[in-house]
């Protein structure tokens, strides 16, 4: 039995292109891992605004003879007050390029959770439990779509390098 080599990747583009996301990701209003020119505005009154979506996946880069299942996501620590992360499970076949049209609608309340998403916490939460062989390269299992929110309680000020907890994607290999 040989274990697979797996990498956390982000999908962008209209016909998805997957690339290494382990060097970091910037949440913004763009279909980009690194863009810092399309910032999310901090609400000046009670309310929550959201980033454009980010499509993450656990991808096999070196094949094995194992299977992967129980894909979970969590934050490495708590986020700064006023900032939050959310996720949802999307099948690979239903990949959608990040765009203004699929950006969650703003809310008039602080601490809002976008429709269809689950609040990310420091405890592992499963987004996909289907078992897939690691015998071929590419994304293994469903996409974990993630958005970031900022609400009126955020007091950290503007910037292009606002820190968020790391996102930990885990899976069981057998």
């Amino acid at each position: 039995m040989s274990a697979a080599t797996v990498q956390a990747q982000a999908g962008t583009g209209s016909s998805v292109s997957w690339a290494n996301a382990e060097g970091g990701a910037t949440f913004n209003l763009a279909d980009s891992l690194t863009d810092t020119t399309t910032p999310i505005s901090v609400p000046t009154a009670t309310g929550t605004v959201f980033s454009w979506i980010k499509n993450f996946s656990l991808a096999v880069t070196g094949t094995g003879t194992t299977t992967m299942s129980n894909r979970t996501v969590k934050m490495s620590g708590s986020a700064t007050t006023g900032l939050a992360l959310f996720f949802k499970d999307v099948a690979q076949a239903s990949y959608a390029q990040a765009a203004s049209g699929n950006r969650p609608s703003s809310s008039g309340s602080n601490g809002a959770t976008p429709a269809g998403y689950t609040s990310m916490t420091t405890s592992a939460q499963q987004w996909d439990n289907t078992s897939h062989s690691t015998g071929s390269t590419g994304p293994n299992g469903d996409i974990c779509v993630v958005v970031m929110s900022v609400d009126n309680t955020y007091s950290g000020g503007p910037g292009t390098a606002i820190a968020l907890p790391s996102i930990v994607l885990s899976y069981d290999e057998q």
Binding site: A8, G24, N70, L164, S166, L169, Q174
Partner: protein
């Protein structure tokens, strides 16, 4: 990739199946005949063992993590590998999680670590 532990399954008829002798991995284990599942160190020392109750389904997996560093993109982080042996039967389960540093957790919560 060198794993901290490998698994070994012991059967009621005193046969054993080691991970290196299972081309398809833990799915090669005969669930009807398994008596216990254990973890061996690289030196072939048996360090952790779980007995499998009758009719229970023996479990083994390695829980691996990949980290998206949103704080310092120049600091690439790697998640640790956690080994797990145990069993599941209907609504009951026992999971023995073993971290890379040897710390263990015995629980019925699959997502405990």
């Amino acid at each position: 990739m060198q794993n901290t532990y490998t698994w070994i399954a012991a059967y009621w008829d005193e046969r054993v199946l080691r991970e290196e002798d299972a081309p398809q991995g833990f799915v090669d284990v005969d669930q009807e005949q398994i008596k216990s599942v254990a973890l061996l160190t690289a030196e072939n020392k048996l360090v952790y063992c779980v007995d499998i109750p009758e009719q229970a389904h023996a479990i083994f997996f390695r829980r691996r993590s990949r980290v998206l560093n949103l704080t310092d993109p120049d600091n690439v982080q790697f998640g640790q590998t956690v080994h797990c042996i145990g069993w599941e039967h209907n609504e009951s389960a026992v999971y023995l999680f073993v971290l890379a540093n040897g710390i263990t957790l015995l629980t019925n919560d699959l997502q405990a670590i």
